[in-house]
Symmetry: none
Amino acid sequence: MLPIERRKYIMDKLNLNGSVKVEELAKEMNVTPMTVRRDLDKLEAEDLLKRTHGGAVLSTSLYFEEEYDVKKEKNIEIKKKIAQSASELIKGPSTIFLDAGTTTYELANILKNRNDLVIITGDLKIASLLYRTENEVHFLGGKLEKKTGAVLSVEWNTFIERINIDYAFLGGSAITNQYYLTTPTFEKAKLKSKLIELADKSVLLVDESKFGVKSLVKIAHIKDFDVIITNKVFNNEFMKELKEKGVEVRLIGG
Amino acid sequence: MLPIERRKYIMDKLNLNGSVKVEELAKEMNVTPMTVRRDLDKLEAEDLLKRTHGGAVLSTSLYFEEEYDVKKEKNIEIKKKIAQSASELIKGPSTIFLDAGTTTYELANILKNRNDLVIITGDLKIASLLYRTENEVHFLGGKLEKKTGAVLSVEWNTFIERINIDYAFLGGSAITNQYYLTTPTFEKAKLKSKLIELADKSVLLVDESKFGVKSLVKIAHIKDFDVIITNKVFNNEFMKELKEKGVEVRLIGG
DNA sequence: CCGTATTTGTTCATTTTTGTTTATTAATAT
DNA sequence: ATATTAATAAACAAAAATGAACAAATACGG
């Protein structure tokens, strides 16, 4: 068996099972474990797999291991700062909308100590976090998204229209290079643009990582917001444009 | 099984069930409890779960609190038996409504292992428990009750009317000596009687402690239900009456 | 064919993982 | 409350996997 064949064999097995063991491969290919290890090292150098003790796994199937998680943690710090800044906008008793997402979850985490808010949300985790607090919490019904615990229903629009919302805090998962906020579904886009329209102040909470990403449906241009809280640094020209439009940009350091 | 696979197995099980036990995992993965504990410690260090005595729960504080809350309940053993009996009613793929309450929470706990249900509920804890499962979960929106995490909205009626519900599982907090199911608010009463009317089968889940208690608004007489699951022993005369009405009574021993 | 480069195997010290034992701690019932 | 049971953490031992160094085998170009 040629070295190339061995490596193909390893990758095939890996793709089939999600993981491989050194000892097993050694027996199957009639080589010593040392050779298998060297093969795995080479394949790892090519980013085709991730080595572990005793074997290897597909680099995609280790959704919880350190690299990914450290990265996630780093963003949490930024998100907390963005959330902190957002919370400072809400001076007195207010009715606010909290979009689904991790940044708004952090905001909810700060707001749970208050007692003068009416909070409307469609995020199950946010609702669970807040319902015991002194604030009044309204949950928008609908089908629960399995991955996120967020709900969305076509009936929201009529409900939303009847309420006076002081602040709508929206998160964003994808902002194009032309600074359009985008989202995967029409329903979500419709709701969010309605919120921007109806709320006294619409606030966009986005960390740097969301820029330059594209999703299917346009919600609005980010200059349609009243406030943008982010750690992304815009160029001078765009900043001037935002200022002319009356958009307040709060830049988070870190 | 590679260490990394073990940890993935643990996280998968955790995401499905909300909690895991050391002993169980040890048996399932053929390792000693000590190894499981070390795995759990590692995962906790990555903030993916929260350790407890004998196991672990998801770090999203939710489950931790819920389990704790439920444990405090008095008649939990009876409720589990009632829930078990109720679950046996649901043979194939069905659309069901789960009322808010601890008995229905126990039912949800059993149903989370299924994958052929559409579940409609207005109970935050039940929704949180079920939304990750293979079932489709719809949450009814509204203002969240601080004490219970249940929601209720005037708009439910129109929503409910448009859905075909196979089974409506209702709990009861107060059943008068004349066997009327009662509840504190008109809104709840209205919704529940509508559910009894609309569902193919309406099922009442009540333990003994709920009888002889009176609340403000009448929902229905218990003989309006199709099935009653309880550990309360009725006198012969009333049993005869129920039988004539075509009500199935499932008596839970213990 | 020879000499060189590459690959593979072997040995062994080191590291990692797992199991075992035991004292301590936490949960439970009495 | 206290006793009892179960779960845990710590320390140690055993097993498994690893990586480094070196030797042997193989491939390859001249």
